[in-house]
Symmetry: C2
């Protein structure tokens, strides 16, 4: 990069996830493997107005702080594959910036509290942003999933489904 | 929230986007309206190893700092709809935490530089994370898109497509 060094960005959580996942080792790897798993997102009450009309969406993209991850190497073995890959070709939690992303199901809203399903997020996780999932824009057709497409369905499920074990 | 106040999170950019979009007013609203629009992501050379095997993915989820957005109200009128909605029911850039998200097409890689297509991101945008798009996990079936589903296809395109005008 030839421009001035980019600046630091300071973020403050907008809320917290409350989920049954208290042990990172037993937390599902993806929402697909957490189907039906309930959780809540407790938004800061001062931000409640920002949820207006969110009820019309079936899915939300949550961006959160991977607050229990620690820095790690740039080459990792993801949970779903025994082969190593670059960190940016995986969703592995030990990332240069500890940002997590999950697409979860929105079941309902009680004031500043969102009731969620299919949640693969640790209890107490600080949430940084909530974005609506737009089916029109967020489902590219014919997408190829690299190494993840090569892992057999049964293997990926055995490695990813760690809820209710 | 009943626990201790969540802590600040300090992030450092991992790279920069170079795109033809220099004017926020003329930048496409979503990758769907930036089809074919080329850009590059210049990763910090020290992180290049983290890109290993990324070439197998057709789409990437970019998480970035909306570095030119300013704080705004919790109720906004998004670009694609004349009606107001809560900020968390939109992708509007003036958010409590200025985090942007785009699903872009990966066209190739040259060392630490990724060649991208369908890019709706401003030139000079600091990138915070790169995640592979997993078709198996990131395309929920039967998703409902709230107000966004109600906007007619022609209207949404006229409002969103601002590239090559």
């Amino acid at each position: 990069m030839h421009s001035a060094p980019p600046e630091e960005l300071v973020l403050r959580p907008i809320g917290l996830v409350r989920s049954p996942h208290r042990d990172p080792e037993a937390t599902p790897i993806q929402p697909l493997f957490a189907q039906g798993c309930p959780a809540t997102l407790e938004l800061l009450p001062s931000l409640e107005e920002g949820l207006q009309d969110i009820e019309g969406f079936s899915h939300l993209i949550l961006i959160y702080h991977l607050h229990r991850s620690e820095p790690g190497p740039l080459i990792v073995k993801p949970f779903m594959d025994p082969n190593p890959h670059g960190i940016f070709a995986t969703r592995f939690p030990s990332r240069p910036n500890p940002i997590g992303l999950s697409i979860v199901r929105l079941a309902g809203r009680r004031g500043p509290v969102l009731d969620l399903l299919d949640v693969d997020i640790l209890d107490g996780t600080p949430v940084l942003d909530i974005k609506p999932f737009f089916p029109r824009f967020d489902s590219p057709e014919g997408a190829k999933g690299g190494w993840n497409d090569q892992v057999a369905e049964g293997d990926i499920e055995a490695r990813g489904r760690r809820y209710k074990k």
